[in-house]
Symmetry: C2
Subunit: 318 residues, 2 copies
């Protein structure tokens, strides 16, 4: 048994009015109060994004979603510019310390998390920080190999988000225990990931990703040839899912490349009938789905082709 | 404007194999790593209990429930004896520092929280600690004045707990963002607290409490007099609610005192028809419910009488 190389120490930058570019903090030492409501109640919001060659991808979309989540939780967070400066500090500090040749390299990947908690019990201000760290190996591998998925009931019907705002359906909160439990449940069944369904049978999202599917339709082009319509589909937002920043960006790029776009309602049979299905997220990017509940989706060749095509589109983003 | 007296500093005791009675830590300094999965994902479990005059109440019931929650989240937590020793350390240290005359006083109240997180990202062991702190003033006040409550849909149907274990319905997890949002929503409506209902219309529980109701039925005693049957009712557990340690202990005491006991299914009209309704929890104890969605429950006199009777029973516990 060889022990794996220790992951590089993350870089932490706290948002702090006394430090214009954020306050660097030692990630090898405790930095959070034990009474912080992030730790005691999962009461806060976050974002995870990828920086490639030192450039955060889809930064504005992530800042917008962070602000939206904070509004839903009534958290008064620092202005966007303060986040941008702290992110720059975290990324450049991480690359200076951990990425050999960072000054010239432009394809290294690092994970940037933006975190907000309701702060220490009794305090009036949230705790806000940025963390830069190395991506885990699984995500990069799953982009290549794809994932096997099981469908799990998330318990809510698809209309609950509209009628019950206190359920925080559109917010990316720190209360992720159920998402983590669903992933453990999938791993125990030999699967890699989960697609949640609603109590009324709709396709929702993954615990940490958005569901995408592709349909190819061939038709007569009117002059004796064959025309292929490529359609990219995702569940509708009002079913109580998180708006995917990667899905949003990919849809815009796909539309420009001639794809047609569609928005659910989707049912499991739509997944089984698709030519390809992906889980898309900011760090792992496009993970092609090989099997859902043991049934193969499309064919290996079709999945490979379509994944390559969408990866090429995704690479043009920002 | 007078500034309120600062709350006494909590006492923190971490469970640590190197410290037999737990490791005392300074609560005025950061003690948690920023990469702790409690803080980044609400991934952990907890208990809150009351210590009166230095004696933790219903300690075994809380330790049992903590162990049950940890099992549901697949967290391997320290043995009960380690928790008991850390609790003793925290309570005695808090009283030594903060409770004048603690050596002879036996009616001071303090809140003891037991916390478990999945630990630092990549580490194999959970982070476990005990916190002793002063109760907030609201709980003690609401025991006397009662609370106004609104009903809010929790989105789940009452059978989801049985069919979807990954939703962790029976675990007291750190992912409390929705519970906190429901309370904020209630406060914004001018209410004090919430009773959750299921998507199929069943009465469930409060965000941090169990629902109890009382029915008095008078009947002929067979010899010309009147017999009053006192019945204490709570929603059935298999509807996906947390087993209440206070409800459990009070039920046992009430049974011994001649009350009849009942277990739901309950619907909102059962609440409106009750002679009294309470939210019961370990810190606030019995909070009589004055109004639900604006409708008065029972009468002030009946609420007062029955609350006094149940408080007397509750005082006999442990």
């Amino acid at each position: 048994m060889t022990s794996p190389a220790a992951a590089p120490v993350p870089v932490l930058v706290f948002l702090d009015p006394a430090f214009h570019d954020g306050r660097l903090a030692d990630a090898t030492k405790p930095q959070l109060m034990a009474t912080d409501q992030g730790a005691t109640r999962g009461d806060g919001v976050f974002e995870s994004l990828l920086a490639v060659g030192g450039s955060p991808r889809k930064l504005q979309a992530h800042l917008n979603r962070l602000a939206g989540s904070a509004r839903l939780l009534e958290l008064d967070i620092p202005a966007e510019e303060a986040w941008r400066r702290a992110i720059t500090t975290a990324v450049s500090e991480y690359r200076r310390g951990h990425v050999p040749g960072a000054a010239t390299s432009d394809d290294d990947e690092l994970v940037v998390k933006l975190l907000v908690t309701r702060g220490v019990e009794g305090a009036a201000t949230p705790t806000c920080w940025v963390q830069a760290s190395a991506p885990g190996p699984a995500g990069r591998r799953q982009r290549e190999t794809g994932v096997d998925v099981i469908l799990l009931d998330r318990g809510y019907d698809s209309e609950v988000g509209e009628r019950a705002p206190w359920l925080l359906m559109g917010a990316k909160t720190l209360s992720y225990a159920v998402n983590m439990a669903a992933l453990r449940y999938a791993h125990a069944q030999g699967a890699d990931d989960v697609i949640f369904t609603s109590a009324d049978g709709r396709v929702l999202e993954g615990p940490t990703s958005t569901v995408l599917l592709a349909h190819l339709e061939t038709s007569d082009d009117g002059s004796g040839g064959v025309r292929t319509v490529r359609r990219l589909i995702t569940p509708q937002l009002d079913s109580g899912i998180l708006p995917g920043t990667s899905q949003g960006a990919l849809f815009a790029a796909a539309k420009a490349a001639g794809w047609e776009l569609g928005y659910g309602p989707l049912e499991p049979r739509d997944l089984y009938d698709a030519d390809a299905v992906w889980l898309i997220s900011s760090i792992r990017l496009l993970a092609p789905v090989n099997h859902i509940d043991g049934k193969e989706i499309g064919t290996p060749e079709l999945r490979r082709q379509l994944t390559a095509e969408l990866n090429a589109l995704y690479a043009t983003i920002e």
